[in-house]
Symmetry: C2
Subunit: 450 residues, 2 copies
């Protein structure tokens, strides 16, 4: 049932565009789902994509525009007139329409809004434009099916019939009172199975989980996942029903968050993909490379203080990579577990002192094992007792301190509202390199009595 989009098909489409062969394009694309046509458009340039869009039925075009990556969409829509954008926006769910309008210039946005002939949609969009993008209000759509507590099943079915065209997926029918306050829900299944003249208040389920419009998108994800909801109603502080968020939007948020953490952890500062330009990929990487470079030069400056020691005892220099690598690994492992707790919104009832004690116990266990192994191996290979003691003692301290730093840094960043995943990346590695070297050379200087 799934269409496989091949390189050959994309080539055929490009040739068909070149010879203006609309029947070929329409004929083959009628077999495809909009999401598959989107895949094809990613391979075409903007003029070619525009040619295809103009051929497709507007409903399919609206779906494709909703699906497109926002950075590609922004460029693509610059080849569209406001009239053309309005034609598609008329056919979109209000949440997708708002996403697209938010990407346009103020002028285009105003023009498109003025051109919408669906007044209900225009009002819904205007309302949604007030919310911040990363809160529940910014994720919700106005399209939903709601019925009044005092209606009969017959009226509900008429209402569903009336709204059926607007609302693509019903999921749950929301029940409100006369002041539009959300009081419960009723499933289509229940309505289907009930008698026509039954009152909603006699069959509805008052048990409904909702979320306030000002809540952060992360909270939306947590609540929907915890209670396995495929849609959640959004209410204002008076509990009036404002809209609803569906699971597909939440999955997009989850993916964006995972992507963002991964990029923070690997020291990439922009949301880039492999098919972005060389310049953009390069630019996304340079900031952390430069910070790492500055860290490396600071390390060189610091080790310069011990240049005479190194000349005298070059063996000390040999263990620098061991010290810095271990510090980096321990730091990243420690920060990882804290970031996981912070991002999963798990309730941790243990107090801070208990958590820290645990971190230190884990660090102690690993520090003893690692430095014990290093002492044994170094002594076996080099037969220098002082050197073996210096290296393993420094390593022990590095494991302990890197654990502490890896644990505290994400907590501190989180407290200051910075995404703690930053701490699992080059930041912690760079900091730990310097910390590790400071410990190592201090220990060496001390134990060798230099």
């Amino acid at each position: 049932m799934r269409a496989e989009i091949t390189r050959e098909y994309v080539d055929q489409v490009e040739e068909a565009i070149a010879r203006h062969d609309a029947p070929f394009i329409l004929g083959t694309m009628a077999e495809l789902y909009p999401a598959d046509i989107t895949t094809v458009l990613y391979e075409l340039d903007e003029q070619e994509s525009k040619y295809v869009m103009d051929l497709l039925p507007p409903e399919v075009g609206a779906q494709i525009l909703s699906d497109l990556d926002y950075d590609i969409r922004t460029g693509f829509l610059q080849t569209f007139t406001s009239q053309e954008i309005a034609r598609y926006v008329n056919l979109m769910n209000s949440d997708d329409a708002v996403d697209i309008l938010n990407e346009q210039s103020v002028k285009t946005r105003e023009e498109v809004l003025a051109l919408l002939d669906n007044e209900e949609k225009a009002a819904a969009i205007l309302d949604l434009l007030h919310y911040e993008e990363d809160c529940a209000g910014g994720l919700m759509a106005k399209e939903l099916v709601k019925v009044n507590l005092n209606w009969r099943v017959r009226q509900c079915i008429e209402e569903i019939r009336r709204q059926a065209e607007e609302v693509q997926k019903i999921y749950t029918v929301y029940v409100v009172d006369n002041r539009d306050v959300l009081v419960g829900r009723v499933s289509v299944k229940t309505l289907l199975l009930a008698k026509d003249d039954t009152l909603v208040k006699d069959i509805y389920n008052p048990d409904v989980i909702s979320i306030e419009s000002f809540r952060d998108e992360g909270e939306v994800v947590t609540v929907m996942q915890k209670y396995a909801l495929e849609a959640i109603p959004v209410v204002n502080i008076q509990k009036r029903l404002l809209g609803r968020i569906t699971i597909d939007d939440v999955i997009d948020v989850m993916q964006e968050q995972a992507e963002l953490s991964r990029q923070l952890m690997t020291g990439i500062t922009e949301n880039v993909e492999e098919d972005d330009s060389v310049f953009r990929i390069s630019r996304s990487r340079l900031p952390w490379l430069i910070i790492g470079m500055i860290g490396g030069l600071l390390a060189a400056q610091f080790m310069g203080l011990f240049e005479d020691d190194i000349a005298l005892l070059p063996a000390v220099a040999l263990f620098v990579p061991l010290i810095t690598a271990t510090g980096g690994n321990v730091g990243i492992q420690s920060s990882s577990i804290i970031i996981q707790t912070l991002s999963s919104n798990t309730v941790i009832f243990d107090n801070f002192a208990q958590r820290l004690l645990k971190v230190l116990l884990v660090a102690l266990l690993n520090a003893v094992i690692i430095s014990g192994l290093v002492f044994t191996l170094t002594y076996l290979f080099r037969h220098e007792l002082t050197l073996s003691i210096v290296v393993s003692a420094a390593l022990f301290s590095v494991v302990m301190l890197a654990s502490l730093m890896g644990t505290l840094t994400p907590l501190v960043l989180d407290r200051f509202g910075i995404n703690p995943a930053v701490a699992a990346g080059p930041f912690i590695t760079t900091a730990n390199d310097l910390l590790g070297l400071a410990i190592y050379f201090s220990v060496a200087h001390m134990l060798y009595n230099l």
Copy 2:
């Protein structure tokens, strides 16, 4: 509408358990959703949890058991008799029941299966036990609503009524032919709006996306996300309808995958959380710490070859952290973008040579900038031309080679069926440390004519 579970409430529950105050527990928990009771159970020990479970209605208990983390559940269920487990399994969806049975010993599993009084459920579970856990068949539940192509709407509504108790959420009604082959779908909304004697074949939608039972769980995620599905029917190779996968299971898979990648990237080898034991957390970290340590000792051995050079020119040693850190950062950044492409199942139409050329262009751009900066800064601070040339030339080569390795390693791992996210972690850092040092000391040895 959301209950906040507080430390105080957990303490009150523990005290109530101690004095066997069932009315307090039942009274307060009646206000909670099963997912919230699960949160409370995480804070109790196994005996306390068992006491609570025995009080709760079996439907709530079944929901809680389905929700519990599998590692906690496995231990918890050891305090249950086979009769008790069977009572809950009777009330679960077949996919959750199979997950739980798969965690039990063969003896318990057989006993529970023999004790199930719902024969239809037992047959469904037996069937599902045949599938691998990480394929579509292992994710699906047998519960779904299907109707025959030749039925009338009246029959369909009777069927939904009949199956209503078994199937918690309908989403879509699947349409099959007389041989049980999936031929389409029809929404409850359509059935609701159609006349009683309409034939299914006149109103159904033949456009249905399905997935074969042997497909990998990653493919299930990709397809459901691409087409924004909240449920997908699972078929065998003859297209017979076997079951369906719902979005909540797919979200769990997505989270597990994200979690796994994150742990691989941070060098943690077991699925641990902050509330696991000190021993378990320590054990999950040791393997990569030891591999990193071996890498560090190999680096020491290698640098030992140049011990005389270092004694003569200790300044060379000062830049070792710069070289290793830059190699590590570049390697992780490069592997990150490839892993992203691999994990998102994005179709990349460019051929391998084009992709590699792009990687090398990005690397060249960054290598020129970074080594240019380092040359300038080193010369400004130390006024040693040869040293500045050695450091910046080595850095240039390290950036180029680490980019290449960071790109090729995940591709090679993926080819051999190993999760490429391994390459974004300590693996690439350790390998790049050794590579960087080899380049650096070779360049130094050459340019200084040592």
